[in-house]
């Protein structure tokens, strides 16, 4: 059977500035990030023949292709479920490039979530299922929906708010090393965390990601071609999507075990295809729209046992020099929240050796997409 293992690589990455408000349109920001990624790879826009993004991406590939000057485009794909689709964009392009449907693929996300509307405020777009079962009762926002899982998680396993703080702190500490991060100049203390306002108890302000304007992109080519590009290739070693049995969107309340989310499904597929396991991962970029997603993902991807994700964060485990440094650019909590795409580019920087919080000799990196929603993940290696 054909395999995607190391068949393709990320040859270029690009990003705009991150801010609460950027003056340019999402379309313009998308084009800037994509052209920066192509320049980083040393590949002309006219060579781009594949695109992948999120269903929530406002700028269609048609607009991007004609603006950047792409040639004939022979593969294009969009992945659903919000931030669950981030790594899947790479997976789709890897499959397309490895099977000859395209030769230069661009994945991107551009979003004005900082200055634009909050999606949950749109009362006209209520999906009948499952919103009819939740929204009338004031479960309005992703923070409310994940807060429900978080309280159950804390109750069932004896995890505490200090464990969630450990996640927020690790991300903030890395952002304090990253001049591009929105929270570069803003250290976080335990007192600030413990006295901050609630958003949806048990989640406080610092358990929630940023609201950011910004765009990012990366360029995927065959492994062979990547070796001729400007930077050391970062190989897509294993890719996976995950939609578990009896799963229901973000409000995963109705399967037998809501604390065993899509990460577990993606992880089984991811590790099955890989030459190494969780113990061999040097650095991880774990989707952090909300702090509880990190312990849930640590369990799902096999870094610890079920219910041990909270305890795993103790003793500086998530910091540089810890058992598993995470979100080394600051993540969605403290660098920028662009549906997880900055986690992908940060993974590439780590394996190039160019992160602002470099893990010495990092050669393997796990990047995950949103947990709780149908998700995806990639294993990168240098």
């Amino acid at each position: 059977m054909a395999t995607l293992k190391d068949a393709t690589a990320i040859a270029g990455i690009g990003q705009t500035a991150f801010a609460k408000r950027l003056p340019e349109s999402e379309k313009t920001l998308a084009c800037r990030a994509i052209l920066a990624a192509l320049d980083d790879a040393g590949i002309a826009p006219s060579e781009v023949d594949g695109f992948a993004s999120y269903t929530m991406e406002e700028t269609d590939e048609v607009e991007v292709a004609k603006a950047i000057g792409a040639g004939d485009v022979t593969f294009f794909s969009k992945v659903g479920y919000g931030g669950g689709g981030s790594c899947a964009t790479l997976a789709h392009l890897a499959a397309a490039v490895a099977t000859g449907q395209a030769s230069v693929g661009v994945a991107w996300r551009s979003r004005k979530r900082g200055s634009g509307p909050r999606p949950w405020k749109n009362t006209a777009v209520q999906l009948p299922t499952p919103a009819q079962w939740t929204r009338p009762y004031g479960l309005l926002r992703p923070a409310d929906e994940i807060g429900m899982l978080a309280r159950r998680y804390l109750h069932e396993y004896g995890a505490t708010r200090d464990h969630l703080f450990n996640v927020a702190l690790a991300c903030r500490n890395r952002a304090n090393q990253n001049p591009a991060a929105i929270m570069y100049d803003h250290p976080l203390t335990r007192e600030m965390y413990m006295t901050s306002r609630w958003i949806s108890e048990p989640l406080c302000l610092f358990d929630n990601c940023l609201e950011t304007d910004g765009a990012l992109a990366c360029v995927i080519v065959s492994a062979e071609r990547a070796r001729d590009c400007r930077h050391k290739p970062v190989y897509l070693h294993s890719v996976a999507q995950g939609l578990p049995a009896q799963h229901h969107g973000m409000v995963n309340y109705w399967n037998d075990d809501p604390l065993t989310g899509p990460a577990w499904t993606a992880a089984r597929q991811l590790w099955k295809q890989a030459d190494f396991g969780p113990e061999d991962v040097d650095v991880a970029q774990i989707y952090d729209a909300f702090t509880p997603l990190v312990p849930l993902s640590l369990e799902g991807y096999g870094f610890c046992g079920r219910g041990e994700g909270g305890a795993f964060t103790e003793g500086g485990a998530l910091e540089i020099g810890g058992r598993l440094p995470v979100n080394t650019g600051g993540g969605g909590l403290s660098e920028a929240y662009v549906h997880g795409f900055n986690l992908i580019t940060e993974g590439v920087k780590q394996l190039r050796g160019t992160s602002t919080a470099q893990v010495p000799d990092a050669a393997t990196c796990l990047v995950t997409a949103g947990e709780g929603v149908p998700t995806s993940a990639v294993l990168l290696r240098s």
């Binding site: 499952p130 079962w133 009338p136 004031g138």
Partner: protein, 151 residues
């Protein structure tokens, strides 16, 4: 049609409609497979049984008793109708007869009491609750299932 500053009403779909019709009669019913060899409950409702594939279903009456599986206490920013009652509780109830069937709702002091009518400090995971029914929306066109703490 919901306007921006009133509480949201369920946008009912074909699969979910019987739930709301029974609720309007004061009955809490959950969809079950009608195949005699199967009979599994399922929620949210859907066209066919994920256990046996049967398209035959029936709506089985529940006792209305359950336990809190989890809850949150939302604070602003929220939609206006919810912000004015915040902080309030939103809960997930596991049904006594079928703990894997969980219903979102609110614990309230009475069927038509406000969302913030129970002090969140009184809520505990595992607390026993029972269903009550509250007509909502223009002309009471939809009946919401809400929950009272059992003594």
């Amino acid at each position: 049609m919901t306007v921006d500053d009133s509480p949201l009403l369920p946008v009912v779909d074909e699969d979910g409609a019987p739930f709301w019709e029974y609720a309007a009669r004061g009955e809490l019913r959950v969809q079950a497979c009608a195949s005699p060899a199967c009979g599994e409950l399922r929620f949210p409702p859907r066209p066919c049984c994920p256990h046996c594939g049967s398209f035959e279903s029936a709506w089985r009456e529940m006792s209305g008793r359950g336990r809190l599986w989890s809850y949150v206490v939302p604070h602003p920013p929220l939609l206006p109708a919810y912000a004015e009652q915040a902080p309030y509780n939103a809960v997930l109830v596991e049904l006594a007869e079928a703990p894997r069937i969980r219903l979102a709702g609110n614990v309230v002091a009475g069927p038509d009491a406000p969302l913030n009518s129970v002090d969140p400090a009184r809520l505990r995971i595992g607390a026993p609750v029972r269903a009550v029914f509250c007509p909502a929306g223009p002309g009471g066109g939809v009946t919401l299932v809400r929950w009272l703490l059992e003594r």
